[in-house]
């Protein structure tokens, strides 16, 4: 218990200087706080680590673009630093495509090519995916090497088992119903994928810190996966309930109810997408803003700056604790709602109980 507490204290001791140190660097120039926060929330072509007196420390990432005019390009993003142009491509400073790679056309307008660059978010995504794969496969190896009659696992695998059996027993089995074994791998993958990405996003320095699950493209694909799992494996009864629900005929002859139900197919995963995106992005935004309080008050004198610094650190600690909770909670909620939607689509005509659970979850 004491040991764990010391570990947590160390963790925070590591977190705080990392955040504040970052803050102190940019006090020289007039800080554009909106730009800093949005810059961290958004994506970039290189992975910024730190800015020191010797310059910026960042990892250049590969740029992969395909333009209809000049074909495929693959080069390091270091060539595009500070607005320089390479192979006719540059990062737009302003305009519709600000911050993105554009190509100058013959007629002088900018065109955005097909951009498959391994950006900061994409790189973090791949790194976190590798972490998820490692964690789960290490645990799976343990289970492959042990029999059911052996002792229960300890340490990492024990923790992992606690999470898996918790999700399995409290979410997947009750929500999906008797067919849960078919969907358990997807739901568990979604849970651990989101959970690891959330946690990695909370680490304020290099291998973490990327706003992956707070990116709409990521949550869009997660929601799309749930959408496919729900609708591709839906039973006849599920489709009948959508297209010809159990309501008075005048409600469905003029297809009001089917229309609402049909829209519902899309709003459910849409809500999943927005919920995860908004929660994670907001968490990052709040932590970044609290950190920026220190340099926003830098010009107001030592007393104000010092006291606001202390307030900022205290609030950041609070927010980190909250975000740890949110990191788990959002992964859990996404998994649970996916399980509920899948369970609704798996429903058999003789059972009507899960329908109500689904309706309340929708609201």
């Amino acid at each position: 218990m004491m040991k764990g507490f010391i570990k947590i204290a160390w963790l925070f001791a590591l977190l705080i200087p990392a955040v504040t140190l970052h803050a102190e660097e940019s006090t020289e120039a007039e800080p554009d706080i909106k730009q800093i926060v949005l810059g961290h929330l958004g994506d970039s072509y290189e992975w910024h680590i730190a800015t020191t007196g010797h310059g910026e420390w960042s990892i250049p990432l590969p740029v992969i673009v395909h333009s209809p005019a000049s074909g495929w390009h693959l080069f390091s993003s270091a060539r595009l630093r500070e607005g320089s142009e390479y192979e006719g491509l540059r990062i737009a400073a302003e305009g519709e495509y600000a911050g993105k790679i554009v190509e100058r056309q013959e007629d002088g307008t900018d065109l955005r090519p097909l951009d498959l660059s391994l950006t900061k978010t994409a790189a973090a995504l791949l790194l976190n995916s590798a972490v998820v794969l490692c964690l789960v496969l290490v645990a799976a190896r343990w289970y492959r090497r042990h029999k059911a009659t052996d002792r229960a696992p300890k340490g990492f695998v024990g923790l992992f088992e606690m999470l898996v059996s918790g999700i399995l027993d409290s979410v997947i089995k009750p929500c999906v119903g008797p067919n849960y074994r078919k969907f358990a791998p997807y739901l568990l993958t979604a849970f651990f994928f989101i959970f690891v990405n959330n946690l990695m996003g909370l680490i304020p320095f290099f291998p973490g810190g990327a706003n992956v699950t707070g990116n709409i493209a990521v949550t869009f694909l997660l929601a799309l996966a749930t959408f496919l799992a729900v609708n591709l494996f839906g039973t006849k009864h599920y489709w009948k309930d959508i297209l010809w629900p159990d309501v008075p005929v005048w409600l469905k002859a003029f297809p009001l109810m089917p229309l609402i139900e049909f829209v519902g197919i899309f709003t459910k995963p849409f809500a999943l997408m927005i919920r995860l995106f908004a929660n994670m992005m907001a968490g990052h935004a709040v932590i970044l803003s609290l950190t920026c309080v220190i340099f926003a008050t830098a010009g107001m004198g030592a007393a104000i700056n010092g006291s606001m610094g202390a307030v900022s650190v205290l609030f950041s600690i609070f927010m980190y604790c909250l975000e740890l909770l949110v990191a788990f909670l959002q992964a859990y909620v996404f998994t649970m709602l996916s399980a509920v939607f899948i369970g609704l689509a798996q429903e058999n005509p003789e059972k009507h109980a899960p329908e109500q659970a689904g309706n309340t979850a929708n609201k």
Partner: protein
């Protein structure tokens, strides 16, 4: 709003990353784990049931053994009591037998003593009689010279002797 617009590049990388993670984990990761966890849960449940059953059996066995011990104790008491009674009875019988034997022996000895005394008395009487006869013979030989005196004396003596004899016989 740039944040709300999904980037094509990220969509591509996310599809790739999540697809690979899902396919690998759905094939090599989670089914193994879920199966292992469930089979262990089942094993634990059956083990618990077996343990409960064993405990129940143990309890009944214990009750049974206690019963047996109680029965054995009761039986022991009984046997001890029986033995005690038997011992007393045997002792009493032996006493009785010894007593009767003693009495028998005493009686026999008394009988023998009486017989012997009788024999001794008979002998003595015979001796005394013979002695008396011979003494009398001698006295008479000297005293009774004439026939008449002899005859009188003899008859008198015969009477006296006879009466005396009868008296002494009866007194025994």
């Amino acid at each position: 709003m740039g944040l709300l617009q999904p980037e094509s590049g990220l969509l591509f990388w996310m599809t790739l990353a999540f697809g690979v993670v899902f396919i690998v984990l759905a094939r090599y990761g989670f089914p193994v784990i879920v199966k292992a966890i469930e089979s262990r849960k089942e094993y634990i449940d059956t083990s618990l049931d077996a343990a409960r059953e064993a405990e129940r059996k143990c309890a009944t066995l214990e009750a049974r053994s206690r019963e047996i011990i109680e029965q054995a104790e009761v039986r022991r008491e009984e046997i001890l009591r029986e033995t005690e009674a038997e011992r007393k009875q045997l002792l009493a019988e032996a006493h009785q037998k010894a007593e009767s034997e003693g009495a028998r022996l005493l009686e026999k000895a008394r009988q023998q003593a009486a017989n012997e005394r009788q024999a001794i008395l008979d002998d003595a009487k015979r001796e005394i009689a013979a002695l008396a006869v011979s003494i009398t013979e001698r006295m008479l030989r000297e005293e009774l010279q004439d026939r008449q005196a002899q005859h009188d004396l003899a008859s008198r003596l015969m009477d006296e002797l006879d009466s005396k004899n009868r008296k002494s016989w009866t007194s025994d």
